[in-house]
Symmetry: C2
Subunit: 180 residues, 2 copies
């Protein structure tokens, strides 16, 4: 799914500005499984407007810069439906942490325990943020499902780190006892 389709989808949930779309992607219920920067959102919205899939009404505000509020057209809704027909590609996880672990093992193994500890903390923060979102009683069934899904896999990852960090440290230490 490209940013284009993503914008269509978010606008299907309600009108929004580019700024709001960005906020949903980076903080809202979408935050843990998607990314999109202004550099892709604004051009996407511009092109979608050209093609008549979204409409834009400009709202001049006296106190702030103009708002451009985008709204899905019926052509846009049809395009979104079409895009949802083909089944979504596989999930892709990008983890610099795991990559760094593998590389560190052969370049700087002494750093590994600290890396794992720091990652556990990050996981806890992320879980807390998601749990806060999950508290909202107004979530739609699908939104709740998605958030719980993320929470479960995040917690599994955290639990794994917490219960196996020491084991890894021991193995690493054991493999190169001369280093100490």
């Amino acid at each position: 799914m490209n940013v284009r389709t993503f914008c269509l989808g978010i606008l299907a949930l309600g009108d929004a500005t580019g700024y709001e779309i960005r906020k949903m992607v980076s903080q809202g219920p979408f935050s843990f499984f998607s990314e999109a920067s202004f550099g892709s959102i604004y051009p996407a919205l511009a092109r979608l407007t050209e093609e008549g899939l979204v409409e834009c009404r400009e709202e001049a505000q006296s106190k702030r810069p103009d708002k451009k509020i985008y709204r899905l057209t019926s052509a846009g809704r049809a395009a979104l439906e079409a895009a949802l027909q083909n089944d979504p590609g596989p999930d892709r996880t990008r983890s610099d942490f795991l990559a760094a672990l593998l590389f560190a093992e052969c370049v700087a193994p002494e750093r590994i325990p600290a890396m794992v500890a720091s990652r556990i903390a990050q996981h806890r923060t992320q879980i807390a943020a998601l749990e806060e979102i999950a508290d909202d009683p107004d979530l739609s069934p699908a939104a709740r499902f998605v958030i719980e899904y993320g929470l479960q896999s995040l917690k599994a990852a955290r639990d794994y780190l917490e219960s196996h960090a020491d084991g890894l440290a021991r193995e690493l230490a054991g493999a190169r006892p001369a280093a100490e």
Copy 2:
């Protein structure tokens, strides 16, 4: 972590051709948390060679196209160590599936149960593939740790889908009973 650093890291584990790097990224122990296409690997290797961080020896093969085997130089190893100093950014999961679920809810809710079912199948396949890799007794401690980590979070996701798919379907059906 960019493809550049990624190549350095993989070469730290052993000499390789561009093709082999690609295979490790798309199939090996790296497959579930990283991606990189030829379009980024080859330019990265070329630049790394220019900069003296990797060396390339060409091996003319009679029956196949020439192999360009890349090897990390000591400068390359130093660069990798430096890159591993700054702690890795947060993990990012990109899930078109979850996005599609949220969008489908308001555009084509009747498709959701099929989408979930298809995703469960995909998860099982992915888990089986990872378990096969995990069977290798020669895995280094860190590699085993990384694979187990992936396996745990993948299984948690699968379990969640398996045990909550029906609930979601029921809620969806309940919310729009007139559709049936």
